[in-house]
């Protein structure tokens, strides 16, 4: 009786030891797997970043080191590419940045105002034809810009708007980017309805509810929409390409393209320098508002 008891404890101890050893092996394996994963992800990160790093390094390299060399560290830093590049085109980049800023700021305001209006109506108000209009709005998400391009161009040409910023800005005040409506509708719907109802009983008008309740509670959604709209408008190429013919009114992407038209002359360093500068605002906004951007994509599935 006694012996069996000791046998049993010995058995149990051995079992515990084996379990412990197994756990150690498992932990070691898990750690190894984790290390492998990190190694892989670090290599992938480097591959993903390499083009951007190369672009930056090419912008400060002497001209004869730009091509045929993989190294990222220049033998000497040629910062003059930035100064020369800034003034390399018939108009200075100060002009292009001013133009891009005007278009972008006004477009972002337009998107926020008009899309939040529409989203508020779809998410909170009742009216005849709501479902139909909502379906139509969602369908416009699918329509390629190229399909509406020609008639829009004819329209704006007849209004005398070609070579002004109006064709770039006015559509944004008319809620033409349905992505943002969709994003805001999703967000507005999550806000508790009791707030509206209470405000309504207190005699608040729908506009006041929009202004005092919905908007202040929706700052994250507004922020996400603002950042995306800012980045997209800043990078927009097709609409400026069609509507802006005078170099005085060029936006930054159009100006960058001019570097490609300059034949023969080697201006690579300057072209890369100005390319880097054009990405800087986007990268700054990305770093500063990363959380909003990531959440915005995860909830709405924007690009």
């Amino acid at each position: 009786m006694k012996t069996t008891a000791t046998d049993m404890t010995a058995e149990m101890e051995r079992a515990a030891e084996v379990a412990h050893a197994l756990r150690l092996v498992q932990q070691k394996r898990a750690r190894q797997a984790r290390l492998m994963k990190h190694a892989f992800l670090i290599v992938l990160s480097f591959i993903m970043l390499y083009p951007l790093l190369w672009l930056f390094s090419a912008s400060v390299k002497p001209e004869n080191e730009i091509f045929g060399q993989l190294g990222l560290w220049p033998s000497e830093f040629v910062w003059s590419n930035y100064i020369d590049g800034w003034n390399a085109l018939p108009k200075s980049f100060s002009v292009f940045y001013t133009n891009s800023t005007i278009v972008t700021v006004l477009s972002v305001i337009g998107n926020l105002v008009s899309c939040s209006f529409a989203a508020y109506a779809f998410a909170r108000l009742e009216f005849t034809g709501k479902n139909l209009f909502f379906a139509l709005m969602m369908m416009t998400l699918m329509i390629p810009y190229h399909v509406v391009l020609i008639p829009q161009y004819v329209l704006f040409l007849n209004l005398g708007w070609v070579d002004t910023y109006l064709p770039l800005i006015v559509p944004r005040f008319l809620a033409s980017d349905a992505f943002f409506i969709f994003l805001m509708v999703q967000f507005f719907r999550q806000l508790p309805r009791e707030l509206d109802e209470a405000a309504m009983i207190d005699g608040c008008s729908p506009f006041k509810i929009y202004w005092v309740i919905i908007l202040p509670l929706s700052l994250p959604a507004m922020g996400t929409a603002a950042i995306f709209s800012l980045i997209w408008v800043w990078e927009d190429f097709l609409a400026p390409l069609i509507y802006l013919n005078d170099i005085k009114s060029y936006t930054v992407p159009l100006a960058l393209r001019l570097f490609l038209d300059v034949d023969g002359q080697s201006q690579y360093g300057q072209m890369f320098a100005m390319s880097v500068l054009s990405l800087v605002p986007v990268i700054i906004f990305f770093v500063a508002f990363q959380k909003l951007i990531v959440r915005g994509i995860a909830t709405s599935g924007m690009k």
Binding site: K37, H38, F40, L41, L44, S45, M48, P51, L52, W54, A58, F67, G68, L70, S114, F117, A118, A121, F122, T128, K130, L136, M137, T140, I143, P144, H146, V147, V148, L149, I150, P151, Q152, L155, L157, P171, L174, A175, P206, F207, E235, F237, P253, L256, F259, Y268, M271, S275, S278, L279, V282, F286, V287, Q290, I293, V294, I297, T299, G301, K303
Partner: protein, 297 residues
Amino acid sequence: MKRFLARNAPGYIFLTPWFLGFFLLALGPILASLYLSFTRYDMVSDPRWVGLKNYDYMFTRDRRFWKALNVTFTYVFLSVPARLAMALGVAMLLDKGLRSIGVYRAIFYLPSLLGASIAIAILWRELFEIDGVINGILGLFGIEGIGWISQPSTSLYTLVILAMWQFGSPMLIFLAGLRGIPRDLYEAAEIDGTSKPRQFFRITLPLLAPVIFFNLVLQTIESFKTFSSAFIISNGTGAPADSLLFYTVYLFNEAFKFFRMGYASALAWVLLIIIAFFTAISFLTSKYWVHYENDRD
């Protein structure tokens, strides 16, 4: 009437900007371009009705139209699966409780934000030049490269790689989707001794189907619309030998270089129908392969 107004006025007032935009900038132009597609129109003289001539020419004699379709479809069918596979693979790596996932996520997402810009298109041209970086890297392995963009047989693949580089946004959506899969399913499978690949096909894929579907529709539509990078990398023409003649680039040139607005409108309508077709297919077939959580029985 009065009651109708009282009930509906606030909604309609808030929708006014959208109404204007919808009718003036979407519905109106779509119908107008349908009309223009049956005309010859050079913007100087009035549109002249030509019936089905534009479509007839497009389908029977316009070899560049077929070339553009071929280029665009090849691009879509290569880049969308490649991008989604990349996005799903990396998302699964990031999902399994790694620390510092935020840093990786940010690095992988950044190219998605920059990818459509002109600066990146310019960069891409130079990376794949004959004396560019890609050939430098290949040189390390003793492989002699070519001018990847100036060769019609390889130029399109440089754009596919550019598309793959931008796998970040579907990756984020996949990550959100993976978070929604209950952990205990995997634990139960682990106890049952189910192998990892089997877990992937039996648990991950079916439960992720709605997210995959969503990404697929979105990315396909986006790919059909690709313009700026193709335009810049091909010098605005679709060169070399029309190997980068994306549909949108062809359409743009017909409209704004040659001012064949009627013909370009016909091209636009065909593009609209193609995209509508693919969207409809995805939605119609989705019930066979996408199961949403709340209609599981």
